[in-house]
């Protein structure tokens, strides 16, 4: 079972990202469940969403304490909370950022992508917020083998028809192509 923790800020679409990854995994014959952190969510506040993916049905509902993968939708979150808390050894961290976060220390692999710029370029903005969730899923597909990029693009276009669906699919693909692993000295 793979456990994924999404950290973002209210309005960035972390909850939707967790849901989409489960939909995509299901399309590929895997099982999953996704859930948000529970509280009074509001725009701008740090919030988490979680997903579990496995080859067999999942019925575990305890919270995720030791994620295999951490996805950070907003680099400012790194200053606000310990994003790598509980990360499994050799776990994967994916961050939406325009510069390498030098001071993030952990035992694992780091992937980065400038999803915010990709969304601004595509005008994927709602109420002033670049909605980076579909882009960051492209990065997740590049960094892990949880779901294929083609499946994600398909699922995104099933969830949003027309122009919006195309923009989100483009963001996902662009992020997939631009995501790279940071070589780190530990």
């Amino acid at each position: 079972m793979i456990e994924i923790k999404f950290l973002g800020r209210g309005g960035q679409g972390a909850v939707t990202a967790a849901n989409l990854i489960v939909q995509a995994a299901f399309k590929e014959g895997k099982f999953g469940l996704a859930y948000p952190s529970f509280g009074a969510e509001r725009r701008g506040a740090v919030l988490n969403a979680y997903a579990r993916i496995d080859n067999k049905p999942i019925n575990v509902h305890q919270q995720i304490y030791e994620p295999d993968v951490v996805v950070v939708l907003d680099r400012k979150v790194i200053q606000m909370t310990n994003v790598v808390e509980g990360l499994k050894e050799n776990g994967i961290v994916i961050i939406n950022t325009d510069k390498i976060p030098e001071d993030l220390v952990f035992n694992g692999r780091l992937f980065i992508v400038d999803a915010t710029r990709i969304c601004l370029d595509l005008n994927l903005v709602i109420s002033g917020w670049p909605v980076v969730n579909t882009a960051i899923l492209g990065a997740l597909s590049k960094a892990t083998d949880i779901v294929k990029i083609d499946t994600l693009v398909q699922v995104i276009q099933e969830n949003w028809k027309g122009e919006i669906g195309k923009k989100n699919a483009d963001a996902c693909l662009k992020a997939y192509n631009e995501t790279y692993e940071v070589v780190r000295v530990i």
Partner: protein, 411 residues
């Protein structure tokens, strides 16, 4: 088998939250009328239904009202004329609705209500707890509690069967947030299966009718009230087999069976078992497998699906096999114990060789309930069986009283 395992048989699969599973089931049950008033974590159920009305033109009328009290009054009025009725609430909403909930129970109107479990204030709290779902068990309602999103869908359909057959309204409880807001795949059966399973054209001699006017619930004297109460008692008491039969019938149509009143997990050779309701049952099952592997403890899980009818018969059978039952209550009866533990003890007291029953209380107000918590419970139960540990009136899980001191220091 509570989740879809045979992928080949999957038709019409959706990946949805449990709240959307409720709404989809209500749509498939062709419910006529719903009363809607928002409260977390229930709100999205009624939102999905209004969306289906808006975008799919489903023939359902939703009345938006000014309070939960009126939401139940809408459902009651609809059911009283023979329409299929639904509403949903949680927590404070249920408390405010209480008067009408009791009235519907006593009127024997076949309303189905979803309650997304949530703790009640004060203090102000959003987290999951089962106390609210359990209250209507004293109010003349059947109470069912599914484990996952697929079972939530299936149980709403089954609830209409149960309500229509017995003329007792049914609460379907589901874990607030932990399930209500969790996305999982569900398979939706062909509409014809549902139409045949819960036909709408059955005779309803109780339905109010302007051609032949009469009324419901008028004043009676004490020469009749006790008798009415007895009949409600008896109908619910006698429904244990019916819940099993409905589950079997559903299983023939869909391939999904949940064990009726109780899902028995690894109980065949079990020495100790934890009794649990709802979503955390999955974690309890993991724990049972783990303590079998790690310590060789023969552990199992008794998943209580039906709280009313309370499965006295089935539980008594299980109690002949196991030596200790730990009842995990995500609720409490202040000063006494867990509400379900109290009922389990009542149900088993007359057995000649009754097992140890230990009440555990935990997870109140949304405190996370972990696999490790259930492992501890199962290990403790084994120690009780072996005489190495005393049984206590109640044991608390995850209790950290120092947290209050810490909080007071911080503020």
């Amino acid at each position: 088998m509570s989740i879809i395992e045979d992928k080949k048989s999957l038709s019409n699969v959706k990946v949805v939250t449990a709240n959307e599973a409720v709404a989809l089931a209500v749509k498939c049950a062709k419910v006529d009328v719903g009363g809607a008033y928002p409260i977390s974590p229930q709100t999205s159920i009624m939102e999905y239904l209004t969306k289906y009305i808006e975008t799919e033109n489903i023939p359902m009328e939703i009345v938006r009202v000014e309070s939960e009290h009126s939401a139940m009054a809408v459902a009651m009025g609809a059911a009283a004329v023979g329409a299929r009725a639904f509403t949903a609430t949680a927590s404070q909403g249920l408390l405010y609705m209480a008067e009408m909930v009791y009235w519907v129970g006593s009127s024997r109107l076949p309303v189905v209500m979803a309650i997304t479990s949530r703790a009640m204030g004060a203090p102000w709290i959003l987290g999951n707890e089962h106390t609210d779902v359990l209250l209507p068990r004293e109010w003349g309602w059947m109470v069912l509690f599914p484990e996952d999103n697929q079972e939530v869908f299936d149980t709403i359909i089954q609830a209409y069967k149960l309500a229509d057959t017995t003329l007792v309204p049914v609460v379907v409880g589901l874990d607030g947030f932990i399930l209500s807001h969790t996305t999982m795949p569900i398979s939706i059966p062909d509409q014809s299966i549902i139409d045949n399973f819960i036909p709408k054209n059955t005779p309803k001699p109780y339905a109010l009718n302007t051609e032949d006017p009469f009324t419901h619930g008028n004043a009676v004297h004490s020469n009749l009230y006790l008798e009415f109460r007895h009949n409600i008692f008896k109908t619910i008491e006698d429904s244990e087999d019916l819940v099993d039969e409905i589950d079997k019938e559903w299983s023939k149509l869909t391939g999904r069976s949940y064990g009726g009143v109780i899902e028995e997990f690894l109980l065949d050779d079990a020495e100790v078992a934890v009794l649990v309701m709802g979503a955390s049952s999955g974690d309890a099952k993991e724990a049972a497998k783990k303590v079998r592997e790690k310590y060789g403890i023969k552990a199992g899980v008794i998943r209580l699906r039906s709280i009313r009818p309370f499965p006295v018969k089935r539980l008594s059978k299980i109690a002949q096999k196991v030596k200790a039952i730990g009842v995990f209550d995500r609720n409490m009866s202040p000063g006494l114990g867990g509400m379900i533990a109290t009922e389990v003890k009542f149900a088993l007291y007359d057995l000649k060789n009754r097992p140890i029953v230990q009440s555990y209380i935990g997870g109140l107000g949304g405190k996370d309930v972990k696999i490790a918590d259930f492992e501890n419970i199962l290990v403790e139960l084994k120690e009780m069986v072996d005489g190495k540990r005393e049984v206590e009136k109640v044991k608390w899980v995850g209790l950290d009283l120092a947290a209050i001191e810490k909080f007071l220091e911080e503020v």
